[in-house]
Each structure stands twice: as structure tokens, then as C-alpha cells.
């Protein structure tokens, strides 16, 4: 099992994601300027401020050569996890529905948040328990989509994680913290599971997402 972690100029949580992925499999960084995904079994689009987040968070990164390959990889059913800025990039690339707007408090906010796992049997959640404690840190994390889209997402089981009551500091609609695409192979999550992989630094609750991806890849291979 091999993870590929994208690195854009301005990515900040790329190395954290690399280390988190290495706890469950092999992992390497993939340079934004290259198309070659180097045989990765799953892709992580990490957090940070790709291209400075100028223009709009994630808006420039979606045009990177590596992202063109990721779009094709996803179309072929490959697993793609977007974290924070990566979630924004995946929305900009239309791999995920909806958009991320500025937090309702209009400020960058860092907080340990509680998450409820809404859909326990997916490629990204099957190793997770019902609730997780994971840090979140962002300025643009308010998940937004049309009401009708939200209804469809909920009905189709695409809302994989919600903020626990009282933990939705960014004003996300319907407390949505993470959604996947209709096919279930692309997942975007605003909080940072890669920063919750070791009790020493606060929590290991995020590791289950990477473990789930490993199970999904290895299950598909069998």
C-alpha cells in the first residue's frame, strides 16, 4: 500500500500527512509540477496554503499538472483524501460537491473538535469508531452547498462526518465536516486527521482514516 502526498508551493501539512500515512503504509511526496503519480495506490491532497491561497483557497492548485493526474486517478476509482486546503482544492476541481466559505467568525481558528462518524462503512471510515477528537485550523472552513444538494448528499450517504454538537465553530451547513463524491472514492475533510495520529501530540483518533484507506486498497486488490 503506497500513499502519494501532493506538495504544492505553500503546502504546510504535507510532511505531517506523509508521516501519518507512513504509519499505515508506504508514502512519498509528489511534486505539483509533475504529472507522474508514481504508482500511488491512494492520494492525499494536504493542508496548507497552496500558492499562497491567493485569488481563493485552492483555486490555483486545481490547475497544477499533478492535479490533472489526480482528476484522472479519481475518475478511474482511485482513493483521494483532501484535508483542509486539500478539501478546498478538491471542491475547486469539482471532484467534490459544494464549497468552503470563510468561517462565520471571519477568523483563522484553531481548536480541537469532536467529530461524529455518520457513515461507518466507507473506504474512509470503516476502521473508525463512532466519534473522533481531531484538531481543526482554518479561515475558510464553512461548508456550503445548495439546500437541494445537501438533501441529496445526506440521502446518498455522502456526508461522512459531522461536527459534534457545539463543535461547529466555522458555521458549516448542517454541521458537515467531511463529504465524499457519489462514487465514494474521493473524500474531503476540514479537520486534520494527520495531526491526530499519536497520543504524544494530543490524539490518535485520526489514524483510523488512513487505516480505512489501507483496508479499502488491500480489499480491492484481493
Amino acid at each position: 500500500m503506497r500513499f502519494g502526498v501532493l506538495r504544492f508551493p505553500g503546502s504546510c501539512d504535507d510532511v505531517d500527512a506523509l508521516h501519518a500515512a507512513r504509519r499505515v503504509g508506504d508514502a512519498e511526496l509528489l511534486w505539483h509540477g509533475e504529472h507522474d503519480l508514481r504508482g500511488a495506490d491512494a492520494i492525499v491532497v494536504p493542508g496548507g496554503f497552496s500558492y499562497g491561497d491567493y485569488l481563493r483557497a485552492g483555486a490555483i492548485a486545481r490547475f497544477a499538472p499533478a492535479m490533472e493526474s489526480v482528476v484522472g486517478f479519481a475518475r478511474d476509482g482511485g482513493l483521494v483524501l483532501g484535508i483542509c486546503n486539500g478539501f478546498q482544492v478538491l471542491c475547486e476541481a469539482r471532484l467534490l460537491p459544494g464549497a468552503l466559505l470563510p468561517n462565520t467568525n471571519l477568523r483563522f481558528t484553531f481548536r480541537q473538535v469532536g467529530l461524529e462518524v455518520v457513515e461507518p462503512d466507507t473506504a474512509f471510515t470503516r476502521a473508525c469508531g463512532p466519534s473522533l477528537s481531531i484538531p481543526a485550523k482554518h479561515s475558510w472552513g464553512r461548508y456550503y452547498a445548495e439546500e437541494s444538494t445537501l438533501d441529496e448528499l445526506e440521502a446518498a450517504g455522502q456526508v461522512l462526518m459531522r461536527y459534534a454538537p457545539g463543535h461547529n465553530f466555522n458555521g458549516s451547513l448542517r454541521d458537515i465536516a467531511g463529504v465524499c463524491n457519489a462514487r465514494g472514492n474521493v473524500f474531503g475533510l476540514m479537520p486534520h486527521p494527520e495531526h491526530a495520529v499519536d497520543p504524544l501530540t494530543g490524539s490518535a483518533d485520526g489514524l483510523c482514516i488512513f487505516q480505512s484507506m489501507r483496508l479499502a486498497v488491500e480489499g480491492a486488490r484481493v
Binding site: C12, D16, H19, F49, T201
Partner: protein
């Protein structure tokens, strides 16, 4: 004056004809004075040059001979500080100090001020302060792993003791303090968050003397492999100077001389001297610099900070005992028509200068291109020991490097202890006859003691995955000692192990920054010792031993005898404390002239200290952890109550500052720290917290709130006496509040004075002291402690 007066002006004509831009009128003594030089300094420059300087030369001298660059009023004092020790790898004089942290790793760290720019434009002032200190760290080849900040503003609360609100914008209304704080915190967060370096700690104090002259000090730490440290000395005549990073514009011209080395008047007219930061540019610059070093492509590296290219190139040449030629026509510019002197003194951000062997230039420029960073060869190293500035090959400035860097005159201070108080008493915000409960709640809600959560929530404290203790979890930030450049694909990974335990244990760094300016104002000597001791106490609470110290001396105008006295006494105290603690000063910064019409700031020698603990998994916490644990006060001698003089309570009551602080036993305080540190390292204590501002009662409330547990105590029986208020709220260094098993506390009692005060548990804090008692529920404590949220919605 004879040499540079009228006669000098005549001589200048010939000088300019030889080297200066022909169309430009030659500068005069008046221009020199306008740039902040004195008449005598101008005279000396003429002598060093052998002729009056032209406009390029004068501009460069005025910056390098400014207080900010030359430390001309503080250098003699700084020489008295201890700078050597067993862990020190680089002391003062390099971009940052460096200590050996074991395992082949080195930690570079430094604190620097950006006070004057932040007073003019807080967001950019603070942001570029962070950017500047980060460049100092990676210029050494170290990856920045943490930022801390130390901030001072005027009173933020819009009400006086009677509860009456003052009109918005009026003096004392708090408007300015809240505006500056909000801007500075946003700026620090914007830069640190965007570049991926966690902001792991800091401190903020609000006091009236900072109303006009706020302080914004930023500290950064970096990690690198010990044998890969880079120095900034230029070497090898024939090697090339490559400038890389952002383009050069007109921003920040004269920042070091006009802005940082004089008292501030009206704000608006100096706004153009504040630089604008771009953290994305710096992120690329950081990764590019570290990759250049990893591939051994650089001979030397230096960041561009105050005084821009002038300072960077002159420092590199001076340290390498070489000369440099720079052609300003090759410098990529942000705007057209920039004069040579503007290019040389511009303080545009996010630029680095490196020395490269001719054979490596192509590889260096290719790597710059990979990171989308502009790189240009702008000059070369020579053996002339002169700094020569050219424009398209034509000489426009020519100065001996030694004259620029080393020959600025140093001044003796004329310290004189003031005979009358310098500072007005603080405005009272608490009525004199408050009950102990009312007093505790008022202290917890006061701006200096209220929870900093609304501020630190705006910082990313965890990126890079090293943060073992975040703000409000412990007295010091704790960072696991993981590989410094894990970004490379083959970096080792420490695998996850249940419970965070590793075999062998993973060591960690601890870091703290502190200074209580009000206590330093009351007694510059003892107050500064207390600041250093407080940092070391914070380290002890997480189990860390100090390795080295950095400092930022923020003072008023040193040409005034009473400020000179504060500075002299503070440096004396700092030296004594750091010697006693075995924590030498490895670097720092001086910010003078922090005063205006309303008077000087409180003397604020900010101390930053870095320590090491052998096992990150045993890092101490400040919150009570388990009901039934016993609580002990460690270190304070039970015979005398701590004094209320210069305490937070006296501030709330509007008491004037005392003339001097009570003496204390420094050696005993250090012995107590060692005992607490050992107990934390052994995992014997459930919590450890030092008793600081607000005294014992506030420290107890903080332990309750951090752990979400109440406590029941009786301090009357143990410590006795009638002076309940002093026991509850008095302040004195050397005291710790710890909790743990009776057995663990008994072991501690064998080494240092230890008084069992009570037990952890319940939903309220209940303290009996002599004849009085105090009760408050956790909810009440929490509400008061959250008071800052209302000021910064």
C-alpha cells in the same frame, strides 16, 4: 566640524566627481543629521572615507551606524553578559544563537522586536516581525519549528474603577490597545499559519505606559543537524553573490534609522517606512534555502532584514574578512527608476543573499526556478576588504568594510537612579474593600490574567507534528525532538506506539518567554532576575533544564540618565540570573527609544529560554489531573508571607509602584526548580505550575480550570499568620503548586520546603485561610477567566 562643515562641502565636489552619480547634488551635514547621524559621527565618516561620503555611501553609513544596527548605546553593556557554556554552539553575533540539544541536533533561536513598525501599522508590523525572525533561523540552515510572541499594549478595558465607560477613542478608552492587539495577533497568525510554523506560546501584558509605544517581540526556534550549521561569513574571492527571493522595491527605506532608532511622534507620516510581508514568498524562500543547503550548493547564507542589502552584504564581508562588489543594476526591481542608494537600503521582505562558487551558480539558479523564487547573481566576493557599489559597472560607492561595520562609535551610558517616581500609579479598577472571593474573580478577569484563549486560538500551534504541550496545557510549550528536515523523502519516521511511549524515549525541547515589566519598573535589577527565573520555572514545570537564553531589551531613550539606569540594572540582573541558572545568553536584540510625549515604557527585558527534557512522554501539565490527589506548595518558606508590592492586586487597587522589590534567595529558588524538574521527569507529579502573577489563589484557579477539577485547601493551618490577603495574592519568585500522591509529595519534601495545602476534587475551589474563606465554582472561575473574549469579539 571643520572637516565636514563648509570646507567639507567643497571637498565633496571632487569626491562626487569621482564616484557619485553625476547629476545629483552632493549630500551635506544637514542630510546626515536628517538621516539620524550626529555631527561628530558625520565627521568620523568623512575621516574614514578620506572625503565626504556621496549619497549612496551616506545612506549606507546612516543605517549601519544607527542604534538598531550598531547597538551603539548598548554594546558595552551587552559585553558583560555570560555567553559561553557547555551547550553553546554559536553565541551572539550570528543570525541567531545555537545550542546543542543532543542526538546530533542543534537548536537555533532568537527573539527580535518589531515595536515601532507595529505601533504604526500593527498587522504588517507584526507579520514582518515574524517573517524577519524566521529568516534569521533558516539563514543558519535550521528549519523553523516554532514561534512565540511577547506583546505589550496599553489598557484595553473601556471602563475605570467606577465602571464608567470612556468615549471611544479617548485616552484610556482602550480603543488603541484593542486595535493594536487585534492587528498584531492577526499579523502574527497570518504569517506563521501561512508559512507552516506553529505559534506555540507567548505572553501579553496590558499596562498604561505601553499605550503609545506598544511592544511586539517575536521569538523563533529552529532545528538542524549539528554538523550542517551554516555561517554567514563570505569567503573565497571570485565567488559570486546571489540574491534570491522577492524583488526589491521602495518599501521600508530608512526603517532601521528613521523608524527603529528614534522616538515615535505622529504615526501617519511614518507608515511608508513599514514593510509589507508575503508569507507565501517566504515559504518558498525557506524551502528553497534549505534545499540549497542540503545539496551543499552554498558557501554562506544571510538573510536581508533591517538595512536590507547594505547590512547583509557588509556583515558577510566583515565576518569573512573580505570585500564585496555589488552591481545594483543587476538587482531585480519591483518598480522603475530606483536610485542606487534606494536599492541598497530597501527593506523589502523575503530576500536572502548567498555566496556561491562559480561552478555551482547554474545549479543554484535552477533550484531557485524549481521553487519559483527569483535568483540573480548581483556581485562577487573580492579580497579588497572594501564594499564597492556599482551601477552598470560604474562605481557609485566605495567604503572600507571595517569602517561600515566595526567603526561606529560606541557610547557610554550615564546612568542615574531617578529621585522621583517615573511612572504614574495605575488607574484603580477594584474597590479597596473587596472580599477574597471578589478579589480572586476580579484578578482572573483582569486583562493581564484572563485566559489568552481568544488570542492563541488564532494561531496554528500544531503544524509540523512536534507539539506535545499546547498553550494552556503546561507552563512551557513542549516540542518533540523529531528530525529537523523530515521533508526529504527518505527522512526517518518515529512509529506510533500506544500511549505515546517510545523506546528509547523521545526527548523534547521546552520553551518559554516572559517578562513582567511592572516589576522591572519597580526594581530593574531584581525584576529582571525574576523574569529569567520565571522562564526557568516554566521549563521546570514540564521537566526541562535550561540550555540557553535569548533576550530582547525594550527600553526608552538611553540618552536619558534614568533610562540608562534601568538598562544598566536590568542587564546586571540578567547576567547574574543567567550565570546562576547555567543558561547563557546566545543571542538577542535591543529596542531603545520606546517612548513618546507621555513618557517611557516600563523597562521590558523580555527573556526567552530553551530547555530540554529527556522524555517527551513525561512532559508536565499544569492542570489538576485526578480527584483525591494532594496539593502542595513547594519552595516558599512558610515563615513570611509573599509581598503585595508591585503585585497584580496592587495594580487593580491603583497602588503606586514601590521603590524596589523584596530580596529573595536566588540559590534556593534554583534548588526548588531542580527538585520540581526531577519529580516531573520521574513522572511522580500529576501537575506542576509556578506561582506567578496573582499569587497562590490565582495559580490554584488556573490549575483547577486547566484540569476541569475543583480543589479544597486550607492554607491557614500550614502557613499561618494574619496576612491572609498577602498569602492569597502576594507575589514572590520560587513557589510552585504541584499535585500528586501523598508519597510523591513526601519525597519532594525531603529536598525542598513543601507544604500540603489540600486535595483535588469537586466542582469548586474552596480555600480557607486563617479566619477567612473563599469559595467559587468552576463555572464562576471559568466565566471570569474568559473575560478577554468580550474585549476581542
Amino acid at each position: 566640524m571643520s572637516e565636514c562643515g563648509e570646507a567639507g562641502a567643497a571637498a565633496q565636489t571632487s569626491c562626487d566627481a569621482a564616484t557619485g552619480p553625476p547629476s545629483e547634488p552632493p549630500p551635506t551635514l544637514r542630510d546626515a543629521l536628517a538621516l539620524g547621524l550626529t555631527g561628530r559621527e558625520y565627521e568620523l565618516i568623512c575621516a574614514k572615507q578620506g572625503a565626504p561620503p556621496n549619497s549612496v555611501e551616506l545612506a549606507m553609513y546612516s543605517l549601519l551606524w544607527s542604534e538598531h544596527c550598531a547597538y551603539k548605546h548598548s554594546r558595552k553593556l551587552l559585553r558583560t553578559l555570560p555567553t559561553e557554556g557547555p551547550h553553546v554552539l554559536m553565541g551572539p553575533g550570528e543570525n541567531a544563537g545555537v545550542v546543542d540539544v543532543g542526538g546530533g541536533l542543534a537548536c537555533a533561536f532568537k527573539v527580535e522586536s518589531h515595536n515601532h513598525p507595529s505601533a504604526v501599522e500593527p498587522f504588517q508590523g507584526a507579520a514582518t516581525g515574524v517573517g524577519g525572525i524566521l529568516r534569521d533561523i533558516f539563514a543558519l540552515g535550521a528549519r523553523p519549528i516554532a514561534v512565540l510572541d511577547s506583546l505589550r499594549f496599553g489598557e484595553p478595558a473601556p471602563a475605570d474603577a467606577t465602571g464608567e465607560a470612556r468615549p471611544v477613542g479617548a485616552p484610556g478608552s482602550g480603543t488603541r490597545a484593542r486595535y493594536l492587539l487585534d492587528g498584531a495577533v492577526s499579523g502574527i497568525g497570518h504569517y506563521g499559519n501561512s508559512i507552516g510554523v506553529p505559534t506555540v506560546g507567548g505572553e501579553v501584558y496590558f499596562e498604561a505606559p505601553y499605550e503609545q509605544s506598544c511592544l511586539v517581540n517575536a521569538m523563533a526556534l529552529g532545528l538542524c543537524e549539528r554538523d550542517r550549521l551554516v555561517r554567514s561569513a563570505a569567503a573565497g574571492p571570485g565567488n559570486l553573490l546571489v540574491l534570491f527571493g522577492a524583488r526589491t522595491g521602495r518599501d521600508g527605506i530608512g526603517g532601521a534609522s528613521v523608524l527603529a532608532s528614534a522616538e515615535l511622534g505622529e504615526d501617519g507620516d511614518k507608515r511608508p517606512t513599514v514593510q509589507v510581508g508575503d508569507p507565501f514568498e517566504e515559504k518558498k524562500l525557506l524551502e528553497c534555502s534549505l534545499e540549497l543547503l542540503r545539496r551543499d550548493l552554498l558557501v554562506a547564507l544571510q538573510d536581508l532584514g533591517a538595512a536590507g542589502l547594505t547590512s547583509a552584504a557588509a556583515e558577510m564581508a566583515s565576518k569573512g574578512e573580505v570585500g564585496v562588489d555589488i552591481d545594483v543594476a543587476r538587482v531585480p526591481l519591483r518598480e522603475r527608476g530606483m536610485e542606487p542608494f534606494e536599492i541598497m537600503v530597501s527593506e523589502s521582505q523575503e530576500r536572502m543573499l548567498c555566496v556561491v562558487r562559480p561552478d555551482d551558480v547554474a545549479a543554484v539558479l535552477a533550484l531557485c526556478e524549481k521553487w519559483e523564487v527569483a535568483g540573480t547573481a548581483i556581485g562577487e566576493v573580492t579580497d579588497t576588504r572594501r564594499m564597492r557599489i556599482l551601477r552598470d559597472g560604474e562605481m557609485v560607492g566605495d567604503m572600507p568594510v571595517r569602517a561600515l561595520v566595526d567603526d561606529c562609535p560606541l557610547y557610554d551610558l550615564r546612568p542615574e537612579k531617578p529621585t522621583a517616581p517615573i511612572y504614574a500609579p495605575p488607574a484603580a479598577t477594584l474597590a479597596g474593600r473587596a472580599s477574597p472571593r471578589e478579589t480572586l474573580l476580579a484578578l482572573l478577569a483582569s486583562p493581564n490574567l484572563a485566559s489568552r484563549r481568544p488570542l492563541f486560538e488564532r494561531y496554528d500551534a500544531i503544524v509540523q507534528s512536534r507539539t506535545v504541550r499546547r498553550p494552556e496545557q503546561a507552563d512551557a510549550a513542549v516540542l518533540a525532538l523529531l528530525a529537523p528536515d523530515a521533508g526529504s523523502a527518505d527522512a526517518a519516521v518515529t512509529p506510533a506506539v500506544d500511549g505515546g511511549q517510545r523506546e528509547p524515549p523521545l526527548p523534547a525541547l521546552a520553551v518559554s518567554i516572559d517578562c513582567n515589566g511592572r516589576r522591572v519598573a519597580a526594581d530593574p535589577y531584581l525584576g529582571t532576575i525574576e523574569a529569567a527565573l520565571e522562564c526557568a520555572a516554566n521549563l521546570a514545570c514540564v521537566g526541562a533544564e535550561p540550555l540557553g537564553t535569548t533576550n530582547n531589551l525594550n527600553f526608552g531613550n538611553p540618552e536619558k540618565p534614568h533610562i540608562a539606569w534601568q538598562l544598566t540594572e536590568a542587564v546586571r540582573g540578567l547576567g547574574e540570573a543567567c550565570r546562576a541558572l547555567g543558561a547563557p545568553i546566545v543571542g538577542g536584540n535591543v529596542s531603545l527609544y520606546n517612548e513618546g510625549a507621555a513618557g517611557p515604557i516600563y523597562p521590558t527585558p523580555v527573556v526567552g529560554m530553551v530547555g530540554r527534557l529527556p522524555d517527551a512522554a513525561q512532559a508536565g501539565r499544569l492542570g489538576f489531573a485526578q480527584a483525591g490527589d494532594e496539593i502542595a506548595l513547594v519552595g516558599w518558606d512558610g515563615g513570611t508571607a509573599p509581598s503585595l508590592a508591585a503585585s497584580e492586586l496592587h495594580k487593580l487597587l491603583g497602588e503606586p509602584l514601590p521603590d524596589g522589590l523584596p530580596a529573595f534567595d536566588l540559590d534556593a529558588a534554583i534548588a526548588t526548580q531542580a527538585a520540581v524538574r526531577d519529580a516531573v521527569r520521574a513522572g511522580a507529579l500529576a501537575s506542576a505550575h509556578d506561582v506567578a502573577e496573582g499569587g497562590l489563589a490565582v495559580a490554584l484557579a488556573e490549575c483547577c480550570l486547566a484540569g476541569g477539577l475543583g480543589a479544597s485547601l486550607d492554607i491557614g493551618e500550614t502557613v499561618g499568620g494574619d496576612e491572609c490577603e498577602a498569602w492569597l495574592f502576594g507575589e514572590r519568585p520560587g513557589g510552585f503548586l504541584v499535585s500528586g500522591s501523598a508519597q510523591a509529595l513526601a519525597a519532594l519534601a525531603e529536598r525542598v520546603p513543601t507544604a500540603i495545602l489540600g486535595t483535588v476534587g469537586g466542582e469548586e475551589l474552596a480555600i480557607r485561610a486563617g479566619g477567612t474563606s473563599l469559595r467559587a465554582t468552576l463555572a464562576e472561575l471559568s466565566e471570569c477567566h474568559g473575560a478577554l473574549a468580550a474585549l476581542f469579539p
